[in-house]
Point group: C2
Chain length 247, copies 2
């Protein structure tokens, strides 16, 4: 499985992906799930993928190859993020139709989910979630983040902490803690993490990080968060349920 | 959907269930999902259910009716928790075969998951999770808890806090916080909660509670937990990813 989270906030975008893929517990590998299409000072598109690895790799391969051909509509020449999301949706349908069409009566799930965030000069930053059917939704002020893959373990902390106005550094902390909760409870999500902070209007992907088990900052916040939770837990008021008890 | 959690610990058993059921978001109701079969000083069996409401209600109805007939094998006369789990499995298969057999080509999911915990005089406390197929697994020293329904949101806090030796009151606090995380992130899980603490060898269900939105203790720990998390979050060391950044 996979866990990817992306946030579109007032001051920029935040992306974090794990890198574990598995086909059963006996075939576990590391693959990058965060992909960047960039043209300096003009566009930054960040793509995250979850789901069938053959499907998502083919999608990325096709998008990458086509991005080098200026004759055709591609991620490097579309005029808006909306058009990029539409193109992604078409590519998702193309690959799933190609590979899933000959399913030969099997039960393989060829589906995938994608996140696409970024900025193209002349428009605001935007963030989309693209479904296996090729349709998509866009993040808003009220719902400033999307998750794909094993999203449930890490959702409560985001729901508690994140708003549209959360500063980028805090949002990244929140995303890393959300990832930590997921890593602890689900073996199919694994380190290293790929992380990226995109400050609004920067058209830069300089703030890009690979976070391994040994990363000192990640180790520090995992420890700090774990200790803080246990400390909070141990200071809760003692259980007082008796008054309401129906016998 | 539903969220139920049950724990089998050194000093007793802890159960918490929500009470929301839904068939689509436009048909939401409140149903008790925690059921007790008790004979004083002799047996306490606690059953929690998630899944198709028609299936789980039929299972409870059949178990309850049969428990009144001493001529047949039932939850009130089986000699061990293991036999009770086997009986539950048979009843699950019976109901799903009856109702699901005539599915008429539809896509209805008739399945359910059950938790069964308790104690029968002469044996230790035991806790089982029964699948829709009627087979089951048992909680152990290493894995002292089971969840059914929307289990992922509330799993990280249990994984951090709970061990086999956690005292019952703290275990109940942990279960309530796990429930709170789930309530916040998933609309299909809702108050009131049904909760029960069973102290080892007590054969008593006196510590049984219904927890509504207005319950003062639940409100206190929800608030304390939420504030503690935000406080922990706001005191994390500032983001320091730069040293590892590959550009």
């Amino acid at each position: 499985m996979t866990y990817c989270v992306a946030m579109r906030l007032a001051s920029g975008l935040v992306f974090v992906s794990d890198s574990r893929t598995n086909a059963g517990v006996d075939h576990i590998s590391t693959f990058r799930k965060l992909h960047i299409f960039q043209q300096s000072a003009e566009r930054v598109l960040v793509l995250q993928s979850a789901g069938n690895l053959a499907t998502t790799q083919s999608i990325i391969s096709l998008l990458t190859r086509r991005a080098q051909d200026p004759e055709q509509r591609n991620l490097m020449n579309v005029h808006s993020l909306y058009d990029a999301a539409t193109l992604l949706g078409e590519t998702v349908r193309e690959v799933i139709a190609r590979d899933g069409g000959a399913n030969q009566g099997g039960v393989t799930d060829f589906s995938c989910s994608l996140l696409l965030g970024g900025q193209i000069n002349g428009e605001e930053m935007r963030l989309f979630q693209i479904y296996a059917e090729g349709n998509f939704i866009e993040a808003t002020h009220d719902t400033p983040y999307f998750q794909v893959g094993e999203s449930k373990y890490g959702k409560p902390i985001i729901d508690r902490v994140l708003t549209y106005d959360t500063p980028l550094e805090q949002a990244m902390q929140c995303a890393l803690i959300s990832m930590d909760s997921t890593l602890r409870s689900n073996l199919s999500v694994g380190l290293p993490l790929d992380a990226l902070i995109y400050p609004k209007e920067s058209f830069s992907v300089a703030q890009q990080y690979r976070i391994t088990e040994q990363h000192p900052y990640f180790a520090t916040i995992r420890k700090g968060w774990g200790e803080g939770l246990l400390n909070t837990f141990s200071h809760l008021p003692p259980l007082a349920l008796a008054p309401d008890a129906p016998h």
